[in-house]
Amino acid sequence: MKTTTASGPRVVVDWTACDGRGLCAELLPELISRDEWGFPLIPDPTVPASLRDHADRAVATCPRLALRLSST
């Protein structure tokens, strides 16, 4: 698990729900890319304030409800 010193919410993936549809990577490319199978790659999950709206939209748009924002 990557630890971050910055505070603020983090994007987390419910891997049991994720199907690798890829909408999150399209809506939040600053934080999320995709691996060779299409599943989200998130090197640093911390969401900067400037991306908060985009992150919220990615969470709301995931067809599998697999993307979440975690405050802890």
Partner: protein, 425 residues
């Protein structure tokens, strides 16, 4: 081939550290034998049980080593009637200590289960056991306890499915809630919303058995064994190239060579030891010689006592062949829910197979490590992380064997595979 599971205790010289295996390794399945050996559990209220968990420093024996009192407090901080679960799923093929406990010390486990039920005011209790445990025998044990009035909270026995991750906490909760035994997303925690949405304490059977002893003998008795950081003793399943494979008990902090000694010592020259099972870590005999059985002592080696599995590998066996067998098994045991694990582990296992059985090149080694980077930390449970810990540590420890294989050779002198992957399949 020597059997890994001669389910017998080799405890002749562990007198100082025989909390669970004493006073003799004989079965205490009969209630009378149990009471003669240990006496009755003192009457105590919920607060007293939690305090005992705090004072003793008792940590979980399922592998993660999480302090029991923190789970108790988390359950007590949640709303709703609690459920307690004694976890004896023991899906790890190289482990037998939980089965040993359920066969020889079922009353200690059940005493402990009642104690945590008391501590959490639970109304339901489950005994979740490995599929090889004879359930009818345990039902007889429960019936005898019921007649003696020992189980105020009724206990339901449930057999775990025969899968590696059946004992993973969220998988246990899913199964007891009526679904498949599959791990789930870790939020909310099971202590908050577990079995059928109720606050749930899942605790390894050995942890509960130790709590039952601590209730009788006190926290100070427990702390007199082990180390300041890791009080008490632990059961280990010691297998492979030792003279007397089986279940042993040792205090935390015991030199690993002494633990092997409890299992009769090495039966031949060793090349490496696997510590912590198939989610565990390979260590060299050099690292082994100076290491002690405790979390802080093992952490510089990237290892931990885990659930107490120790397998000694002799020279003349091939670490890559052993690992390949296990990695193929672990890939098959992926629950198949999380994309990176489902896609990654089989490919990693295939790359390893190609190197282990002679037609792989250096690119295969690089590729399995690259793919490993794609699976670690990307699952609902730690199956991919643990599997890669096993593989990465093995590739380091068996680096010379890797070079041999890349040159088309192998140091194996027998067709036997030491590590079990399909005990009863």
């Amino acid at each position: 081939m020597t059997t890994l599971f001669d389910e017998d205790v080799q405890s002749d010289h562990v007198a100082r550290h025989s909390a669970l295996t004493g006073p003799s390794p004989a079965s205490q399945r009969e209630l009378q034998a149990h009471l003669v050996a240990h006496g009755a559990v003192p009457v105590m209220d919920a607060h007293a049980v939690v305090q005992l968990a705090v004072d003793s420093g008792l940590a979980g024996h399922g592998g993660a080593g999480f302090p029991l009192y923190r789970k108790l407090e988390a359950v007590n901080a949640s709303r709703g009637r609690a459920i307690v679960v004694a976890n004896g799923a023991e899906g790890e093929p190289a482990s037998a200590k939980d089965r040993w406990l359920l066969a020889r010390r079922p009353h200690l486990v059940l005493d402990g289960l009642q104690l945590v039920a008391r501590a959490t005011n639970a109304t339901d209790a489950y005994l979740y056991v490995n599929h090889r445990v004879p359930v009818t025998t345990l039902m007889d044990v429960l019936a005898e306890r019921r007649r003696a009035g020992l189980d105020p909270v009724p206990v339901t026995i449930v057999a775990a499915p025969d899968v590696f991750i059946s004992g993973e906490e969220t998988a246990v909760v899913s199964h007891l809630s009526g679904s498949a035994a599959l791990p789930r997303f870790k939020s909310p925690r099971v202590t908050e919303r577990g079995v059928r949405g109720r606050p749930t304490l899942v605790s390894n059977v050995e942890t509960l058995a130790l709590l039952a002893l601590i209730a009788r003998r006190g926290a100070a008795w427990f702390r007199a064994m082990g180390t300041a950081d890791s009080p008490g003793t632990m059961l280990l399943t010691v297998g492979g190239a030792v003279r007397a494979p089986g279940i042993v008990e040792a205090g935390h902090g015991t030199p690993l060579t002494d633990v092997l000694g409890l299992a009769g010592g090495p039966s031949t020259h060793l090349q490496a030891v696997l510590l912590g099972g198939y989610h565990g870590t390979w260590i060299t005999t050099d690292g082994f010689a100076s290491a002690r059985l405790s979390r802080p002592d093992l952490s510089p080696l990237g290892a931990s006592p885990g659930a107490g599995v120790m397998v000694a590998l002799s020279r003349g066996t091939c670490g890559l062949v052993e690992m390949s067998t296990v990695m193929s098994y672990l890939a098959e045991e992926s629950a198949g829910q999380c994309g990176p694990c489902l896609n990654g582990l089989p490919r990693i296992a295939n790359q390893l197979k190609s190197v282990a059985f002679g037609h792989g090149d250096r690119r295969a080694v690089d590729e399995m490590l690259r793919l490993g980077g794609l699976v670690v930390g990307r699952g609902a449970c730690h199956h991919p992380d643990g599997s890669m810990r096993f593989l990465r540590s093995g590739l380091r420890v068996f680096a010379a064997e890797v070079e041999l294989h890349l040159a088309g050779k192998c140091s194996r002198t027998s067709d036997d595979v030491v590590l079990p992957t399909a005990v009863t399949r």
